[in-house]
Amino acid sequence: MIFDATVAGRSYRVEVKASDARYVVSIDGRPLTVDWHPTGGVFASLIIDGQSQEVGVARGSGGYAVVLDDASLLVELAAGAAGAGSLAKKGSAGPAKVTAPMPGKIVRLLAEPGQLVAAGQGLVVMEAMKMENELPAPHAGRIKAIEVREGQAVETGALLVVME
């Protein structure tokens, strides 16, 4: 099985084969022999060349969250095509969308449609867990639409503001 994987901003091609009681995982062509054994729930013990690690792996929105000792990484996986160069690059063009980074309540709107804003300028104040957080404009530009109203409760990922 082949995956196109992205982690910490870099992309990798990862292939997994089951082999006896092991897995052979090739990362950009470099093979690792992984002895994987479940250790309760989403946890697993991995032994690679004698080096032992326990990891928790859970599929969530946006990919697989992997928790290791002292660190937490998000791995995005897509079923890879057989050939190379098939990675769908993420579009960075088009109108910028500001989405809710957490569930919470919209406390205040700091901008309105048509307004010109500077990069980093606050657009929306959200509240969660007794804290108010200002969500900034990702770049300078004009506000195209505000998709929420003050007092509204929103989930993670909800569209808040569209910029031209």
């Binding site: 099985m1 897995y23 995982v25 479940p38 697993a44 660190a71 980074p101 309540k105």
Partner: protein
Amino acid sequence: MVESRFRKILIANRGEIAVRIIRACRELGLGTVAVYSEADRSAPHVALADEAYPVGPPPSRDSYLRQDRIIEVARRSGAQAIHPGYGFLAENAGFARACEEAGIVFIGPRSETIALMGEKTSARRLAVKAGVPIVPGTLEPLGDPSRIRSEALRIGFPLMLKAAAGGGGKGLRLVATAEELESAAARARSEAKSAFGDDSIYLEKAIERPRHIEIQVLADQHGNAVHLFERECSIQRRHQKVIEESPSPVVTPELRERMGSLAVALVQTAGYVNAGTLEFLVDADLNPYFLEMNTRLQVEHPVTEMVTGEDLVKLQIRIAQGEKLPFAQADLRQRGHAIECRVYAEDPDRGFLPSPGRIIALRLPGGPGIRDDSAVYEGYEVPIHYDPLISKLVAHGHDRNDALARMRRAVSEYKVLGIKTTIPFFARVLRHPDFLRGDFDTSFVEMALAETTGQADGRIEVALAAAAIRAFLDRRQAREPSAETPLLASGWRRRGWRETAGGRL
């Protein structure tokens, strides 16, 4: 001098502190009554208590701040006393008074003492009376802009603006120059107004590279008061503590003795009764300045419990029952070193943004010298309505290095999936050379975050392998569903078997 044996206590709080208090009550053989909001039916404090009653909708003002309902539950359930924990009603003089009037013991100081210390300038005046040094500044609440300006010019810049009616970093502003004063004062007063319903502020000279060090005190109804040494609380984000330790790496025996005596003097001048904490700023020349007093249990109380061997919650309850302190100052000793990390449901990589949600998986640390005061379980949904503190992780060791080593070890064992937490942040701080040397002030977190980013590269490979194998198993399982229909509560078991089988193909 109430002398009354409690049989049942209502805990007017939630989360890890409610769990902490229920445990103390249980160890004392006392019955426990929990209250909960509609968002907290599945919270651990509800499951752990002997009795539990709903008090309203999720927002705190409709539930945990509803004094009338809480007192009514105490009456109906026959609780003789209410422990407020911290936050919510813990420093609300009106609630303490309402308890007194309802004939229920409020486990804390008398309502007048709460009011006296709650108004920060009256606390400053009291400190002056008790001979305790305060940060130079004003002694009265100020509202008039021209008066604020003239006092500011007298004190000099940089200076701090603070809300007179309450603490906790609300309405706090650092003003570097006279030009910034007017607008900063306006914002500070507006914040104070919305947080405390009172827009008066006071001024304090800004201390350079300050350390935040506090003294724990205990005072009974018989005039006895002791201090339980210091806690170092300089590691803060957003003016809130994230790591605390005791002893402080900079406090000398002389300074400890001096700060302890000052704290006891203030407590006795105030006629204070209960556990309490006096916050000080300590400047680079090790001069202490009294900041304010918290008339309640502190989040970081376990640090003091670990080094002194005392149980502060049990002592609060015994004091409220009218008992005398069971020890004198000379009986108290610091033993070893303790450190606390506050595990918050926050994303340290995104400016400590709140991260409520469901905990998919949880591995708690254990073993020697580790104490975990948590209030979550695997499958628990951390609600969006309350403080993001999910656990206080505490390590105790022979000395500071030993305690830090144990904390590093425990942090590496602590695994949470489903929400972001401050755990990876602690892993970084606990390896930061300045922190290891004990060389830091209240600006440490911002500085350290800016320095240390990025993940160790060796982990990327392991994470890729782990995610890819899990995805491989998920897909294979989807294609080859087992004959067994997964109907029952034993769903986990099914999964375990499948994966094992998968690994053996």
